[in-house]
């Protein structure tokens, strides 16, 4: 693989976020330093409350940091959001129940004001990508949970963003569907060379998908380890039984254990 200097997609410097609550301040993020370069697949992993989702939401301008600096595509998160620089996939599909599958995928394109012909072309292309052709005119309730989540991925992709932010997108799905979608996602990333930031609390998922794993710890939410894993981009599910995989998984597990105080 040719190594060239790649553009930074996300840069955080001493980023902190404190929520003021009735019970006193909650330090959701504390002095986060992080670089994500173009084409990387970065996973945030950690126990609940470690700030992984908050960090992703801060990148997406759904939360505002209280100190430090953060740049997304070289601009502030708000400007990046206004430019529609990223696609966001949530924990649940967040499909609008009154829209058909095709209209759900077209939602961001309608908001952007694209012409009908262009919208239709992009919807068809992205539904094909997640293997959902033929379901265009169904309503969300007619699809299984796994299919709904694939629709939400198609919806994020049809913006054609360089950056894909995914917040535990497969967390609510069963293991079998999850494995299948992990493989599909990896193939998609390999094909398109997008930058993906992926939040998860599953070690195998993080190791299988990532080029870089960011291990986080709660109270205050902080990064305790960053693990690079340069596995072949065309790996398959069987890779999860290889020694390299197990070695990295072990390191992640050790990191999580070290960062987690069990006495509270």
């Amino acid at each position: 693989m040719p190594e060239t200097t790649k553009r930074n997609v996300v840069t955080c410097e001493d980023l902190s976020l404190t929520f003021e609550t009735a019970d006193g301040p909650v330090f959701a993020l504390s002095e986060i330093n992080l670089q994500v370069s173009q084409g990387e697949f970065v996973s945030f992993i950690g126990p609940s409350g470690c700030g992984k989702t908050t960090l992703l939401r801060t990148i997406a301008d759904l939360e505002k940091s209280t100190s430090g600096s953060i740049l997304v595509n070289g601009v502030t998160p708000e400007a990046a959001r206004m430019n529609r620089d990223y696609g966001y996939v949530f924990q649940a599909s967040a499909l609008y129940p009154w829209r058909t599958i095709e209209n759900n995928v077209a939602l961001p394109l309608e908001i952007m004001g694209l012409a009908k012909a262009e919208r239709d072309a992009r919807v068809a292309k992205n539904l094909a990508l997640v293997d959902l052709l033929g379901f265009e005119n169904k309503f969300p309730w007619q699809l299984s949970g796994g299919m709904q989540q694939r629709v939400s991925i198609a919806r994020a992709l049809c913006l054609e963003p360089e950056l894909l932010l995914m917040d535990e997108p497969f967390g609510a799905l069963d293991e079998i569907v999850r494995d299948h979608l992990n493989e599909q996602l990896l193939r998609l990333w390999n094909k398109t060379n997008k930058t993906v930031i992926f939040v998860t609390h599953s070690i195998p998922e993080a190791v299988f998908l990532s080029t870089k794993i960011v291990v986080m710890s709660p109270r205050p939410g902080r990064i305790i380890d960053v693990i690079d894993c340069g596995f072949a981009r065309d790996r398959t599910l069987e890779f999860r039984e290889s020694p390299e995989f197990l070695e990295v998984a072990h390191r992640v597990r050790e990191g999580l254990r070290a960062g987690h105080s069990y006495d509270d």
Binding site: L62, R81, M82, T100, E110, I111
Partner: protein, 309 residues
């Protein structure tokens, strides 16, 4: 060797008529209706009996219970008319008269319904507009909401004559003042329902549209409004019934010449209880019909929107 298995019938044998009736609503509703009619008849006999007994005693005739029941159900001005008397009167005044006649119930119903409908349309628009304001402007919620709620604590019976008189003084008569009373009753359920409906999108749906940097206008039309449709229909069903009440109440204070309210009033002036009751039953039927009509539109709309299988 063949194995024989006792086959279960794949199709259930057709259920008896009784089972089928009680599977849906038809059976239970019919039972309550029959019970209601029976109580009504018993009430009519009981309430009309003193007058009849009085007549018998003055004439010094012998009478049996059978005579009494027979006579109490066919009085000309009973305290409580029997259901069949009301039906006969309704049949005469609905189907037996030209609909332009002042004696036709269809004419009177139309007069009431037209102002109720005008009030319903204005009330729904006004209620929706107030809800949109309350949802989008924080200061409007604080300033407007208490007034919206306290507006409904004033008895409409006390307020209606004032509205009619004041509007009459500035030259507004007939349809419009009655419609305004309907509006007054209508806007409230629409405002309350729509505020709830426009706020019903969940945080995830709101975050999603935010990531697309949608304008307020787009958020309204693509998320808030579609989410509120089920709430809107629930409100509309309450509002249409309220609008009919408003129109009827609006016809009473000034002794209007036409409308179901006027029929009620005229009936009570002249002791025409059968006329009162037939106007009353007609009003109830029209209200039920309007609610059913909105329910039907609701089902069609929600089905089209994919919100109902």
């Amino acid at each position: 060797m063949m194995t024989s298995v006792t086959q279960q019938p794949l199709v259930q044998p057709p259920a008896g008529i009784g089972t089928r009736l009680f599977a849906g609503n038809t059976g239970p509703v019919t039972v309550i209706l029959l019970l209601f009619v029976a109580i009504w008849y018993a009430g009519a006999v009981y309430l009309n009996a003193p007058w009849q007994i009085d007549i018998y005693e003055r004439a010094k005739v012998d009478w049996t219970l059978g005579d009494l029941v027979h006579e109490t159900l066919r009085q000309e001005r009973p305290v409580l008319p029997a259901p069949h008397q009301v039906l006969v009167e309704m049949n005469e005044t609905i189907f037996g008269k030209r609909i332009t006649s002042k004696r036709s119930l269809v004419y009177h119903t139309w007069v009431t319904l037209s102002s109720a409908f005008l009030g319903f349309v204005i009330g729904t628009l006004l209620g929706g507009l107030i809800a949109v304001g309350i949802v989008h402007v924080v200061s409007l919620e604080k300033s407007l909401m208490p007034w919206v709620i306290s507006s409904q604590t004033i008895p409409i019976l006390a307020l209606a004559p004032m509205i009619i008189v004041v509007l009459g003084a500035i030259g507004l008569k007939g349809l419009v003042p009655k419609a305004i009373i309907s509006t007054y009753l209508c806007f409230f359920p629409v405002t309350i329902g729509m505020v709830k409906g426009l706020r019903s999108p969940n945080p995830l749906q709101m975050d999603l549209i935010r990531t697309y940097s949608a304008s307020k206008w787009q958020i309204f039309w693509m998320l808030r409004f579609p989410s509120s449709v089920p709430f809107l229909f629930t409100s509309l069903k309450v509002a249409i019934a309220a609008s009919l009440v408003g129109a009827i109440v609006g016809e009473m204070p000034t002794g209007a010449q036409a409308g179901l309210g006027a029929r009620l009033l005229a009936g009570s002036y002249y002791g025409q209880t059968i006329q009162i009751w037939s106007a009353l039953v007609t009003a109830a039927l029209v209200a039920a019909l309007m609610v059913a009509l909105i329910g039907w539109i609701e089902r069609l709309t929600l089905k089209r929107m994919g919100l109902q299988p």
